[in-house]
């Protein structure tokens, strides 16, 4: 394992060095803009997104009955991932008047329908676990 680890770390450092070399020498690279974006995604995730999610988890833990919690949290995870992915499509800033085949759908509607499906599945799961728990009141 010791040599496997050394090999992995050594190879990784080599690949990282190649990436830095490429970023510095490729004439198509706009290094400033890219570094800002690399920093922005980390700050947005670590300082904004994750604290909000953990706060939401705290609220769920406080106020949502235990029996429906797994279904609710599961559906929330799916909804969140789906919504984040869909935002650029819903906003549709990439639409071009000369090319109607690009982003041809109503993505707001598509997102709502897909979310409705996710929450319908979650409702069924929650209802079944509620029933199961109700049948075993001694537990």
């Amino acid at each position: 394992m010791r040599w496997t680890r050394r090999l992995l770390v050594g190879a990784g450092v080599g690949v990282l060095a190649y990436a830095v070399f490429g970023l510095l020498t490729d004439p198509d690279t706009a290094l400033g803009g890219q570094v800002v974006f690399l920093a922005a995604v980390v700050v947005a995730h670590d300082a904004v997104f994750m604290p909000l999610m953990i706060a939401a988890g705290f609220v769920v833990g406080r106020f949502v009955p235990v029996r429906v919690r797994p279904a609710l949290v599961g559906a929330a995870i799916v909804s969140l991932a789906l919504t984040l992915t869909a935002i650029p499509f819903v906003l549709g800033r990439g639409r071009r008047p000369d090319d109607p085949s690009a982003l041809p759908l109503n993505y707001g509607r598509g997102l709502l329908i897909t979310l409705a499906f996710v929450w319908a599945v979650a409702a069924v799961v929650a209802w079944r676990s509620w029933r199961r728990a109700a049948r075993r009141p001694a537990a």
């Binding site: 394992m1 496997t4 680890r5 050394r6 992995l8 770390v9 190879a11 990784g12 450092v13 690949v15 990282l16 990436a19 490429g22 970023l23 490729d26 198509d28 690279t29 706009a30 290094l31 803009g33 890219q34 974006f37 690399l38 995604v41 980390v42 995730h45 670590d46 994750m50 999610m53 953990i54 988890g57 919690r69 797994p70 599961g74 995870i77 799916v78 991932a81 789906l82 984040l84 992915t85 869909a86 650029p88 499509f89 800033r93 990439g94 639409r95 071009r96 000369d98 090319d99 109607p100 085949s101 690009a102 982003l103 041809p104 759908l105 993505y107 509607r109 598509g110 329908i113 728990a133």
Partner: protein, 409 residues
């Protein structure tokens, strides 16, 4: 007699000492907020959860890296690289896989980062220089991983405003950053990963709440829902349920999507000019062919997909002249010759391409005049376009102006 250690050994020992000498801890008074002990109460986090998600992420990033590197090599082939013209659908599969895997990775990375988020606030922040370097590699890993997913989604949504850089080059080099950081990370964490994968800790969460298995199922479910909601851009039968697909394989002029319109390419006037001639230059001389001249040559009809690097692809039926027949007209044997194809479009990234001997000689490669039995729509490259098997769409040059047949270098 006391022997001095060899100089290299001594130097190595000094380096190891320097790397592992404990740094002075910061004052305890600073240990507030998330850096407090037990600041993160969820008992769902465990090395096993993180290891399982990590393995899935390694596979996902590995798949994206290999398929993305392949696309890069096809578009910018170094001397040693030769991309075959068959199987016809191969590039369609690899590029579709690239985009679909990237999209499915979004929930995987989100939950993985949640599972290790408390580590961001570990106390003391750095123990020694080696630890500081390791944390720096984690920063690179997280940053590059998020960057790849965010820019990838922005690119398929054609939203370039937030990206103050050239996407293809940034996405390419950051992929190397991500893969390098992943290799380092696996090397550093290997003992924890191994323990996490082999030992199943007993469930520590409260009865009835979300379990590790439940969380993994939700994560997989999220990846599945995202895939179904978008894969219809590549897999046509699923288009009706893919409500978030950036493209529909059957939506566009002549029921085929367009990536660059004639208006955007600024060729509308030139393309319909009656004086249009396709210049065909080769070892035996130069021909100037009108569209009627091209239509008078033997016509072939083939079914070939258009595959965009943004992941969508669509099959279509094309009719036109075989490129190898045109090469023969100007005295070039298809073997050993390549074709330099130039568009009427003069400004842009893909105004010309080189068709290597494998594709130029393939009997399926056409200078197409018709799509689905009708003359090409202006946006599909009227009066004539290139269509070859197993090639990215950006290399299927539209509005052909000139074909130069030359010896392959």
């Amino acid at each position: 007699m006391v022997r001095e250690p060899d100089p290299p050994v001594a130097a190595r020992r000094r380096l190891v000492d320097w790397l592992t000498t404990p740094l002075p801890p910061p004052p305890a008074a600073l240990r507030r907020g998330p850096t407090r002990p037990h600041a993160f109460p969820s008992r769902l986090r465990s090395p096993r959860l993180t290891s399982l998600l990590g393995v899935a992420l390694a596979v996902a990033f590995g798949t994206c890296f290999v398929t993305g590197l392949l696309d890069h090599l096809i578009q910018h082939p170094p001397g040693w690289f030769h991309w075959p013209s068959r199987p016809v659908q191969l590039f369609r599969v690899t590029q579709g896989l690239h985009v679909a895997t990237g999209l499915a990775t979004i929930p995987l990375l989100g939950v993985k980062l949640w599972s290790v988020y408390p580590r961001l606030f570990r106390w003391p922040p750095v123990r020694d220089v080696a630890h500081a370097l390791e944390r720096l590699s984690i920063l690179v890993l997280v940053s590059a991983g998020l960057f790849q997913l965010v820019t990838g989604v922005l690119n398929i949504a054609l939203w370039y405003g937030p990206m103050h850089f050239y996407f293809p080059s940034a996405h390419y080099w950051t992929a190397w950053l991500a893969i390098g950081a992943i290799l380092v990370h696996i090397g550093v964490k290997l003992p924890i990963i191994r323990a996490g994968l082999t030992r199943r800790p007993r469930e520590t969460v409260r009865a009835g709440t979300l379990t590790r298995r439940g969380l993994l199922a939700a994560t997989a479910g999220a990846a599945g829902v995202i895939t179904v909601a978008t894969i219809g851009q590549t897999v046509a039968p699923l288009a009706p349920v893919s409500l978030l697909a950036p493209r529909r394989p059957r939506t566009g002029p002549q029921n085929l999507p367009v990536n660059r319109s004639a208006a955007a390419a600024n060729v509308r006037t030139l393309a319909v000019d009656p004086a249009y001639r396709l210049v065909l230059a080769g070892p035996a001389g130069t021909l100037r062919l009108s569209r009627d001249d091209l239509a008078a040559l033997p016509q072939r009809t083939v079914s070939l997909p258009i595959t965009c690097v943004e992941g969508w692809s669509a099959s279509a039926v094309w009719t036109g002249v075989r490129l190898r027949d045109l090469m023969a007209l100007v005295g070039a044997d298809p073997d050993g010759h390549e074709v330099f194809a130039q568009s009427l479009e003069t400004a842009g990234l893909y105004t010309s391409t080189t068709v290597d001997p494998a594709h130029a000689g393939d009997p399926l490669t056409l200078v197409a005049l018709q799509l689905r039995g009708e003359p090409l729509h202006l946006d599909h490259g009227y009066p004539a376009r290139l269509i070859a098997p197993n090639r990215p769409g950006v290399l299927q040059t539209k509005w052909l102006a000139r074909l130069t047949v030359r010896r392959a270098s």
